[in-house]
């Protein structure tokens, strides 16, 4: 599988806290049997209420590095949220912190979610706003974000970082390899073996 060691692209500043999955993709768009077509509805309701929403700002169109605040992606487990962002063009997210299920969903889809200090995020968002063409690099190997003259450290859950940088983010492939061990482990569980264990 493809190794992901760095993502480079222009940025989209969305430095708000507690962005929940209902806002990323409102529930009515979950009435679907494929993820295709979700991209255009990302943040649809927020965009309608805020004429200046960065997802509607042409200056940020084509951006692939999303800059968020604290607890990004909280709320539901809907993979539709990262799927919508991916289809919008997002390839990496830099934020102060992430909700867990959202983070796991992103990792399994090859989208690095990295943590940075609020002060650094403020500077990055300001730099992107001042120059929307600014190239932002999220470097998982060097654990660093670079953008023009800006450069700051990032952190990421080691197991997730490792799975991306070594190309092991297809969890299903790895899990399938353990099929025999799975059957053995299951047979030892009381509720599988009639509580005889």
């Amino acid at each position: 599988m493809q190794t992901i060691t760095q993502v480079t692209g222009t940025g989209v500043p969305l430095l708000l806290d507690d962005i929940d999955t209902d806002r990323i993709i409102p529930a009515r768009f979950l009435r679907c049997v494929t993820f295709d077509g979700l991209g255009e509805h990302a943040f649809e309701d927020d965009r309608k209420q805020d004429a200046k929403h960065p997802f509607d700002d042409v200056r940020f169109h084509g951006g692939s590095v999303l800059v968020g605040g604290r607890n990004f992606g909280c709320g539901s487990s809907r993979e539709h949220a990262p799927q919508a962002l991916i289809r919008w063009g997002i390839k990496a997210i830099v934020a102060q912190s992430f909700a867990e299920i959202f983070f796991g969903n992103c990792t399994g889809l090859g989208v690095p979610c990295v943590n940075a200090a609020r002060g650094d995020l403020d500077k990055l968002a300001a730099a992107i706003t001042a120059d929307p063409k600014l190239e932002v690099t999220v470097d998982l190997a060097a654990k660093q974000v670079r953008a023009g003259s800006l450069s700051f450290p990032i952190t990421m859950l080691e197991s997730a970082r490792g799975s991306l940088t070594t190309g092991n983010w297809d969890f299903l492939g790895q899990l399938l390899e353990g099929a025999d061990a799975v059957k053995q482990a299951a047979a030892k569980l009381p509720y599988v073996n009639g509580f005889m264990a």
């Binding site: 806002r23 529930a27 679907c32 049997v33 209420q49 607890n71 490792g162």
Partner: protein
């Protein structure tokens, strides 16, 4: 040496298959629940890779999110919803998975159905493509929500790749005051620990308050663990748990049951169990709690005022002001008296029979205020039948509430039950996010079912304790 592992670690260890190169654990999943929203793409992933379900008998499917609660005739009027129904029917047929469909009286909200049928048992690992899977932790299982790719992982391998969380004991001591319910306890915990306080943790709820709770109350608490950032929350199994499971259709029977019960009870965290963190609250200090903002931690006791902006850090003030603006509420305004347009009783948090009984007992002899639309949506068809045997539907209807079919209804906006425009809804559900209840500008105040009834009758947020 005595085993000082807490329940979480015992159950985790028993289900761990092997360590993966990433450092994560391959964890066996004992019970997999699926519904129509987060599963269709997972089945497509299996088809694309030519895979089958490894243990199809360990997955149970039901339909809940898109199901209309008024007119359930097929085909549904909403063609997209109908397409999703056909997809889950077809997928379950093709992969050999049991489905509680609309024509089966065991259908209902997935987190109500599992416990009701005795499928949810202590010591299990339980996964579902739904964040409120934490509900099942009420039985002393490890239960958490997963994304669609992981639904495919479980179908194909009955396992997940997971990092082990830390465990925090959340203790609530003392006695709850009259008019304070399980919902208030969890809203209070989230208010104090914050919406991301639980990230990286599993929560063990313990202490006298939880010891005394019924299973249904424990489910209400565990249900909202995720709203506090904890992917799972649980309560140690005890005799209340064992009694609840006994005799349910999928529960072990006869001698098997006795052996099962002995194993379940042995899993409970010992008195000297080790935890990564411990926090303690005094139950007698909890008030009926109501959210005022756009996340479940933004709440106050019903006799309190909304917080002052100046009380927050500069970083937080922007978000708080945004919440005030969205809700059209002001700092230091009393929450009591805030007008409502809609009252909703239902959801996997508070759509069980005990919730409906409590709500009906308060509604009896009163009438919903003019201009307020009020609905009661049972969490499952069996809850609905039970309520009707007890005449609760008649009580609600006489009080001006609509009595509906089972489903997720107005908990989220995937079926015809939705807020309109700027409506304010007093809701027994679990999320007050912007737009959650279907109108992009709609507003939600979370509270206990009893408080929802009080609000419905008075037309504004009220203190239910004055009606008891």
């Amino acid at each position: 040496m005595t085993d000082r592992r807490n329940l979480f670690n015992k159950v985790w260890d028993a289900h761990s298959v092997r360590s993966l190169a990433s450092g994560q654990t391959q964890l066996f999943i004992g019970l997999h629940l699926i519904h129509e929203v987060t599963s269709p793409q997972a089945f497509s992933m299996l088809r694309d890779r030519g895979l089958k379900a490894l243990f199809p008998e360990r997955t149970l499917a039901t339909v809940d999110h898109i199901v209309p609660t008024e007119n359930q005739a097929r085909p549904f009027l909403d063609v997209l919803a109908e397409e999703m129904m056909s997809a889950i029917e077809q997928n379950c047929r093709e992969f050999g998975i049991r489905l509680f469909n609309l024509d089966d009286n065991r259908q209902g909200v997935v987190h109500i159905v599992g416990p009701e049928q005795g499928l949810t048992q202590p010591g299990m690992t339980i996964a579902c493509g739904d964040s409120h899977t934490s509900t099942h932790g009420a039985f002393g299982s490890i239960a958490f929500g997963i994304g669609t790719s992981q639904v495919a992982d479980v179908l194909a391998t009955q396992t997940l790749a997971l990092g082990k969380p830390k465990v925090r004991k959340v203790e609530v001591t003392g006695t709850l005051r009259r008019g304070v319910y399980a919902k208030d306890v969890i809203l209070h915990i989230i208010r104090k620990l914050g919406v991301q306080g639980g990230v990286g943790y599993a929560y063990e709820y313990s202490g006298e308050v939880f010891d005394r709770m019924t299973m249904e109350e424990r489910m209400t608490v565990c249900n909202m663990s995720i709203e506090g950032g904890a992917r799972c929350g649980y309560i140690n199994p005890d005799l209340t748990t064992v009694d609840y499971i006994k005799g349910r259709p999928f529960a072990p029977q006869g001698a098997d049951f006795d052996r099962a019960a002995a194993w379940w009870l042995s899993l409970a965290s010992p008195k000297d169990a080790e935890f990564d963190d411990v926090v303690t609250f005094n139950g007698s200090e909890i008030e009926p709690t109501v959210t005022w903002g756009i996340n479940p931690a933004q709440s106050v006791g019903v006799s309190e005022k909304l917080p002052a902006l100046a009380g927050f850090s500069t970083d937080d003030q922007k978000g708080i002001q945004d919440a005030f603006d969205y809700m059209d509420l002001k700092e230091q305004q009393p929450i009591r008296g805030v007008k409502i347009d809609v009252a909703f009783i239902g959801s996997c948090t508070n759509g069980r029979i005990s919730d409906l009984r409590e709500a009906a007992s308060i509604a009896k002899g009163h009438h919903v205020a003019p201009g307020v639309k009020a609905l009661v949506v049972p969490g499952s068809q069996l809850v609905r039948e039970q309520a009707m045997r007890e005449g609760l539907d008649k009580v609600f209807e006489a009080a001006g509430f609509e009595w509906r079919g089972a489903g997720c209804s107005m908990c989220l906006a995937m079926n015809p039950d939705k807020l309109k425009g700027r409506e304010v809804c007093a809701s027994s559900s679990n999320r007050n996010f912007k737009g959650r209840q279907g109108s992009p500008t709609g507003r939600t105040l979370l509270m206990s079912p009893a408080m929802v009834v009080a609000a419905a009758i008075n037309g504004c947020v009220s203190d239910v304790r004055e009606m008891l």
